[in-house]
């Protein structure tokens, strides 16, 4: 898994690539909570993400709840393939604000 950051509009955009599983999901969790702790709106970019398991999804859920409590925006961008299937299987596709592409932001 690789994580990089850019700024896009009002968001801190987190570019995820590779595979997120129990081995590395804690890094995602710490990164997300760190951004939210700094009061940033977060855009999680799934465009280059090949795989995410339930531990990665749990990190997103926890972060989404923190964002809501702090009235910060938290969106997922460009989920397709296996990561989208995981969100559908867990019914979280209707919980997270999902954006198909950056033009819709």
């Amino acid at each position: 898994m690789e994580i990089s950051r850019t700024t896009f509009k009002q968001y801190e955009r987190l570019h995820l690539s590779g595979e997120i599983d129990l081995h590395n999901s804690s890094v995602l969790r710490e990164t997300l909570l760190g951004l939210l702790g700094g009061g940033e709106h977060v855009l999680v970019d799934f465009t280059q993400l090949a795989y995410i398991d339930s531990s990665g999804i749990a990190a997103l859920v926890e972060s989404f709840n923190v964002a809501k409590k702090q009235s910060l925006e938290f969106k997922i961008l460009g989920a397709t393939g296996s990561p989208l299937q995981v969100l559908e299987l867990t019914r979280l596709v209707s919980v997270f604000p999902m954006v198909e592409n950056e033009h819709n932001l």
Binding site: L22, S55, G81, V86, R91
Partner: protein, 139 residues
């Protein structure tokens, strides 16, 4: 049952990636379509991750064995560990509550697989069996 793959590795989270690759390869041999392969790989990964996380409590000197069989029109996955014995209640899917991060792995396993249960044996540890119907072959 015909054994397709027999994999054994340490109970280390860094091994999950290669387990997924082996499951994907077996699923391709079985002829599952891509969306099914993605979900089966995920379900087996979740089961192995649960063994490492809850069974071995992240101790990486345990053993995780994955056996994949073809049997009576089904793909059969056995995940064998040497952890303290668990019961069916431990592998029952709990209702997923929106916006709660817990219980997602078991929910996924039960959503994807046709049958999930424990096999009783004489040996110590646990054997989780997951079954998925093979795709029908076109005439």
């Amino acid at each position: 049952m015909k054994l397709i793959k027999n994999i054994e590795c340490d109970s280390c989270t860094s091994k999950l990636c290669s387990i997924r690759a082996d499951v994907r390869e077996a699923c391709l041999e079985f002829g599952f379509p891509d969306p099914d392969i993605n979900s089966i790989v995920l379900a087996v990964d979740e089961a192995c991750a649960n063994v490492i996380r809850y069974g071995y409590k992240y101790c990486d000197n345990g053993s995780v064995k994955l056996q994949i069989f073809a049997a009576d029109g089904e793909a059969v996955f056995h995940i064998i560990d040497q952890c303290p014995e668990i019961c069916e209640a431990d592998i029952t899917a709990k209702p997923v509550v929106d916006e709660q991060p817990g219980g997602l792995g078991l929910h996924i396993i039960h959503q994807v697989m046709d049958r999930v249960h424990l096999i009783e044996g004489d040996a110590s540890g646990n054997t989780l069996e997951m079954r998925k119907q093979l795709p029908l072959k076109e005439a």
